[in-house]
Symmetry: C2
Subunit: 374 residues, 2 copies
């Protein structure tokens, strides 16, 4: 069965960079109603290049939701169990948003633009409708809207060198999860040391879409000796880095504790938030399943269309794989999946059922080590 | 520039029909996080076939949002200016949902399953988050959830013949915008006389995804002498029929009056609804622009990636085309677009600016007639 080509219409919101970023893209998906390139040369070639050089990514699909007004901070706090009380202008915080059942609605990075003004830089669900619905229903005094801001990212070890050629202030002054305002190619940008790879880099938030191609060209021109290429979030790199993909590794059916996102917050923050009762109940009873890293020998398994079922040594209940691929660096598969909480110890043997057959593997630690056998 | 192929992962929710419906699909898009085939043979061949025979469409992307509970009807009324007070089980109603500014959030068909239980059969935005947000924020006593229901549609003039072979009761007993419950291929279905074409047909709502392929096969088997083919919503047919596409012909920036959706409701229904003040203000002041049908000679213009600007005879303000294609039956282009309200008379001359050049056309009536010249 041949994979169909992507068809375009106004319904798929146009990225200001697409005249550049779609050149050479061999595969794409749709994310937040925006086209997201998903492969250029190949998954492996893109991966090695990303680890060695610098890439430019069209991540306009990382849509912003702006929340502004006297109740903005109170509303932001209401959306997430993460404590935002110390957030300050220039800071980015990763924060899972949850619903009344503690289900994960989205996992944005929150940018604090001013004490009463925030962007949620979102993964693939219409957070604007969620936040507007809550704010309207509950009477928060805020404006919630789409500010027409489009990110483009540079990722890879040469990102600092590239940025140093584009702005006056030294890139090293931008700490991780911090942003500055600067001008490139005649447009004012928010520039954050963030991005969806494990290789470091920056995201440039563009507010003037008509300047998208000029910005792209200026970045490319400054990288003439850096072996820059167009790229995109890379499946191998993001699994190795342990970056979770909403819709793949967690959905509204998952809570942040079982997904391991509770490392970003303490249960019991002072401010009121939606889903507190449900989340505290899960925290006290213990999550029934846990997201774990998986190491599986071989190079034959493709990423699942849905999930792959998995049996776990010593567990009655099955588990399932949510993302998996071959790591050319470790020469085995690296994967993510859920197992019963009582059978999540590092080293535990698992058996995956995939279209490529049954394969054995083990639960790994965060460095992909299989420390011990139970 | 080559169009990229669509890449798949768990994030794109799997249709229970995709092992069947993706066979032969040459193009596809993503709609409500689900893959939607958009072409099989070609736009024109698919169009002629749809008008003459019967097609089977995978419209699993037409996701359902279920609202259930003591406040269900009151919440449904709160979402839309359309009066739902007389809705009864077995009835479908097309209803634009609006926000506090009277912007169109979505335009679902609402199915009344019981006096306290509804499905919103939605276009491409996360209505579940909108409705959950409002219900949670404002304290409606309802459950809002995704019921895992997937529609498959038969459309075309032979749809009644085909359905008569699949169910015991006569299809003519199902009136337009009504549904029955019936069993096909061992699965209980909701079957509605609805669908996104002008050629008539039915939508089958499947609640048991594991039976999707058997259902598809049973429909195909019953059509062995009807020249049935796989198909999909057809751009030519839907423009000719005047079916608006949310995201293309109206967005959150449009109100239902300018989009012409006010023919589905009377301003001033009894029940409370969100956006009433904004909508009544627009109704009394008059909308500043109007969606109109456009007839443009030739066959050279392709559907816009965004919109095409348009100048209108006698108007200071420009307009824009949202959807356009060549109609092989009328041998001209048929299009939809917005013009200033004061320059929307049938027959008015317009000039489109497209990548294929400047082209003149006229505003048409709902039968695509250019009755008079102003």
């Amino acid at each position: 069965m041949t994979t169909p080509r992507l068809s375009f219409s106004r319904r798929l919101r146009k990225s200001p960079f697409e005249a550049r970023s779609h050149v050479g893209a061999t595969a794409a998906s749709v994310y937040n109603h925006v086209v997201l390139p998903t492969a250029y040369a190949s998954l492996e070639e893109d991966y090695w290049h990303l680890r060695e050089h610098v890439q430019i990514w069209d991540v306009a699909c990382q849509v912003q939701v702006e929340v502004q007004g006297p109740d903005a901070l109170r509303l932001m706090e209401y959306l997430t169990p993460r404590d935002l009380s110390q957030i300050e202008p220039g800071q980015c915080m990763y924060a899972p948003l949850i619903d009344e059942n503690a289900g994960i609605v989205n996992d944005p990075i929150i940018l604090c633009l001013a004490p009463d003004r925030f962007w949620l830089s979102i993964s693939d669900s219409d957070v604007s409708l969620w936040v507007k619905g809550l704010a309207t229903g509950a009477g928060f005094n805020v404006r919630v809207f789409d500010p027409d801001v489009f990110p483009v990212s540079i990722q890879g070890p040469k990102s600092d060198t590239l940025l140093s050629r584009l702005i006056a202030s030294p890139p090293e002054d931008i700490r991780r999860f911090r942003f500055i305002k600067a001008e490139i190619a005649g447009t004012d940008l928010v520039i954050a040391r963030t991005g969806w790879s494990g290789q470091g880099g920056f995201e440039f938030y563009l507010s003037e879409p008509e300047k998208g191609e000029a910005l792209w060209d200026a970045i490319v021109a400054a990288a003439n000796d850096l072996n820059l290429r167009s790229g995109c979030p890379n499946l191998i790199d993001r699994i190795e880095t342990g970056l979770l993909s909403h819709g793949n590794d967690m959905t509204l059916s998952n809570n942040p504790i079982e997904a391991g996102l509770d490392r970003f917050f303490k249960i019991g923050k002072a401010s009121e938030y939606l889903g507190r009762a449900a989340l505290e109940q899960i925290a006290s009873a213990g999550a029934s399943q846990r997201l774990v890293r998986l190491v599986v020998p071989g190079d034959h398994i493709t990423n699942p269309r849905e999930t792959y079922p998995m049996t776990i040594a010593g567990a009655q209940q099955p588990g399932y794989v949510t993302s998996i691929c071959h790591s050319p660096r470790m020469d085995c598969h690296v994967g993510l999946g859920y197992v019963p909480a009582g059978a999540s110890a590092v080293g535990t043997r698992i058996t995956l059922s995939t279209p490529q057959g049954m394969t054995e593997g083990r639960i790994a630690d965060e460095h992909w080590q299989v420390a011990s056998t139970p």
